[in-house]
């Protein structure tokens, strides 16, 4: 990968170049698109995006494209394998002296359905083979493109179209969110981080850091999703910010065999985050108080593992 020709110290250093143009048919306020826009600002247009079925597949609808990069849509389960084919083809031709090495980046772009569920195997294998690529998972915690059904990424107590709330089940999703970060980390990728559209400097710095490394560079981004999660598009960045401030979406990186949290939570009460989203509206019924307590416990448990505890106990 080509090292960047600029330094990212403040938000003023953000590259002016845009590689994701406006005018797509995506939802207003989609956090995923903000992340893609920032991500591409760092790695540049000399890239090919390899996509799996998901919301972002519709970024490109014939005959229009709003990306200045290349693009290949594969299928649901196999974008990392498509990335492998492109990388291998270019490397083979470079090694044989048939083409010069133009340092073309290969970026896999999928939602959480592909990353956590149907494409877990192909991602695992790409990391196993130390494929030199970027992976950006925009995680809106459900199958968003098909109308917000439960996925491996859906957290406990989220309502979805296939885990609705009813007389028998008044919680919605009963399982916890799958820990993809740890699953990916077990593969020892060159770089691994979580990102958020509400923390652009954190996001871009991580991508910049990763760009100096060869091998798998893996990113899981919180995709605030007004359509699926159920909030007004104008609140998208606020929801993304609250996910981090409450401690629900830890911003961290794993590089050189070490996990570092890049932004520490304020331990803002989780209710602040839950109450603005329709997918959690059923929790604010007095008989579901226990579910909210459980979410709080999960958050505290996570941070305790890293020796990070709230300053006061006011949150609980």
């Amino acid at each position: 990968m080509e090292p960047l020709s600029f330094k990212l110290n403040t938000v003023r250093d953000t590259p002016k170049d845009e590689h994701l143009y406006p005018g797509s048919s995506m939802c207003a306020g989609c956090g995923a698109q903000t992340m893609i826009r920032l991500f591409l600002k760092v790695i540049g247009k000399n890239s090919i995006v390899v996509n799996a079925a998901g919301c972002m597949t519709l970024l490109q609808t014939y005959p229009l494209s709003n990306l200045s990069t290349g693009w290949l849509y594969t299928a649901f389960a196999c974008a990392p394998a498509g990335a492998q084919g492109i990388r291998d083809a270019l490397d083979s031709l470079i090694d044989q002296g048939k083409i010069p090495d133009e340092k073309i980046n290969v970026l896999v772009l999928t939602g959480d359905g592909a990353a956590y569920d149907i494409g877990l195997q192909s991602t695992s294998a790409a990391m196993d083979r130390s494929l030199d690529f970027y992976y950006l998972c925009y995680d809106n915690e459900a199958y968003g493109n098909t109308g917000f059904q439960e996925s491996g990424a859906t957290p406990y107590a989220s309502k979805t179209a296939t885990t609705p709330v009813g007389r028998v089940n008044d919680i919605g999703t009963l399982k916890p969110k799958k820990d993809l970060f740890e699953i990916w980390r077990a593969h020892e990728p060159s770089y691994l981080a979580t990102i958020s559209p509400a923390y652009p400097m954190d996001l871009m710095k991580k991508v910049e850091e990763a760009s100096h490394l060869k091998g798998p560079k893996m990113f899981i981004g919180f995709a605030s999703c007004p359509t699926g999660m159920g909030f007004d598009p104008s609140l998208s960045m606020r929801v993304a910010r609250l996910a981090v401030e409450t401690g629900i979406w830890p911003l961290k990186k794993y590089a050189h065999h070490e996990i570092t949290h890049t932004i520490l939570p304020k331990f803002t009460p989780v209710e602040e985050y839950l109450k603005v989203q329709n997918r959690y509206s059923h929790l604010f019924n007095p008989k579901n108080e226990e579910a909210i307590s459980r979410i709080k416990e999960q958050v505290l448990l996570y941070w305790k593992k890293f020796g990070i505890v709230p300053k006061s106990n006011s949150h609980s």
Partner: protein, 402 residues
């Protein structure tokens, strides 16, 4: 070089001589020997191809198609369950117009699980847009790979191709194979024509359309390209004969010219069919055989020509579409329907799971044609001794009071 090699090795030689840039691999019986051979050649530095072990056939096909679009000449191989596991990508890759070559070593599909060949695997891919060429001999396995590249990469075609060879009967059978000189193959094939990805060439590929007319247009294009492939086959096989002296055709006619009756077959069992034809000829039965080498594109015009004036055609299907019958029979019936003096057709299912057709089977097929037995039902070939064996095994299986 002229050597005794297996069908698998012959197919691998085809890839080697085509100087492929990339081979994504995944093992499956009876194909594995192909990717082992290629891996060894790569390890020994005898080929420049990059060989990558994938984690499934689905990913293998994805990587193969993506690499072909990125500018690499690509070879890969699979069998049976593997082909079906990769299935959705076949349609993608034909839509991508990525002219790679994949060998399928035929093997019957589970369940019951088997290792021996029939063609339900490869015929499942008939609607995918892949070209399909079916080899009868080890020599043809090699030749078909070279021809497949020439035809797939023809600018009128630009479609992926499957070369089929039968598991075990061809894959593990050694025959004398003439391995062409590298220089001749270089001249025969020419360089791969897809422009490699570069800063100046980063297109959008495989993208969505929600407009039915646009979708139809692009799928029609795949059909048009298949039709152009008929001409490309003609040109490529003529060129092949000039370079290497061997003649291949979309349909091979064996003792067919003066025949009253024809058998239609594909793949390695055609050799058994030819032997039966020869023997029946000695008894003055005027029978011949057509062997389909190209199944996609389906050589309709050649077929109509070849059956003109015949009294009866027996189609031997080494496949079964339950609830309908023989797949190739249906295609032939469709092709001949409404043509002048179309001969009588009869359908025979045999060779499932590698069941070898016997002399009696072939005699029965001709008898059906001669006696004009109504053709509506496919004849499921099963001899008395076959049935004895089944009965014996069922008795053992049912022992123990189930």
């Amino acid at each position: 070089m002229n050597d005794l090699i297996t069908g698998n090795e012959a197919a691998a030689w085809g890839a080697r001589l085509a100087k492929v840039d990339y081979v994504p691999i995944y093992p499956i019986t009876p194909q594995t020997e192909i990717v082992e051979k290629i891996s060894k050649w790569a390890a020994d530095g005898l080929i420049n191809a990059r060989v990558t072990r994938m984690e499934s056939e689905h990913s293998m096909l994805t990587a193969a198609g993506a690499a072909a679009l990125a500018g690499a000449r690509v070879f890969t191989a699979t069998s049976s369950q593997g082909l079906l596991y990769a299935f959705e990508m076949l349609y993608n890759i034909s839509g991508w117009r990525a002219p790679l070559v994949m060998v399928n070593v035929s093997r019957g599909l589970a369940s019951p699980l088997t290792l021996l060949p029939d063609h339900n695997d490869v015929l499942a891919a008939r609607d995918s847009g892949f070209l399909q060429f079916h080899a009868e001999t080890c020599q043809e396995a090699l030749d078909s790979v070279l021809l497949a590249y020439r035809i797939a990469e023809d600018s009128r075609v630009m479609l992926p191709a499957i070369v089929n060879l039968d598991g075990f009967y061809l894959s593990f059978t050694r025959e004398r194979v003439d391995v062409p000189e590298q220089k001749d193959v270089d001249d025969f094939l020419g360089p791969y024509k897809v422009k490699p990805l570069s800063k100046e060439n980063l297109p959008s590929m495989g993208i969505t359309t929600l407009d039915p007319a646009v979708y139809s247009y692009f799928r029609y294009q795949v059909h048009e390209a298949q039709k152009q492939a008929i001409k490309a086959i003609d040109d490529a096989t003529k060129r092949f004969e000039k370079f290497f002296g061997r003649k291949l055709k979309a349909i091979e006619a064996y003792m067919a010219e003066d025949a009253d009756y024809l058998l239609i077959m594909t793949d390695s069992f055609s050799t058994i069919g030819k032997r039966a034809v020869k023997r029946m000829r000695e008894e003055n039965v005027k029978v011949g055989l057509l062997r389909l080498w190209a199944l996609r594109p389906f050589p309709i015009d050649d077929l109509v020509q070849a059956v003109k004036g015949k009294r009866g055609i027996a189609v031997f299907d080494q496949d079964l579409s339950p609830g309908l019958g023989g797949i190739i029979y249906q295609e032939i019936a469709g092709a001949l329907y409404g043509t002048d003096d179309a001969p009588k057709l009869a359908s025979f299912i045999g060779g499932l799971g590698g069941k070898i057709p016997t002399d009696l089977d072939f005699e029965y097929m001709v008898k059906v044609l001669k006696e004009n037995i109504p053709p509506n039902e496919p004849h499921l070939l099963m001899s008395k001794s076959d049935m004895e064996l089944v009965k014996k095994q069922r008795e053992i299986a049912l022992r123990g009071g189930v």
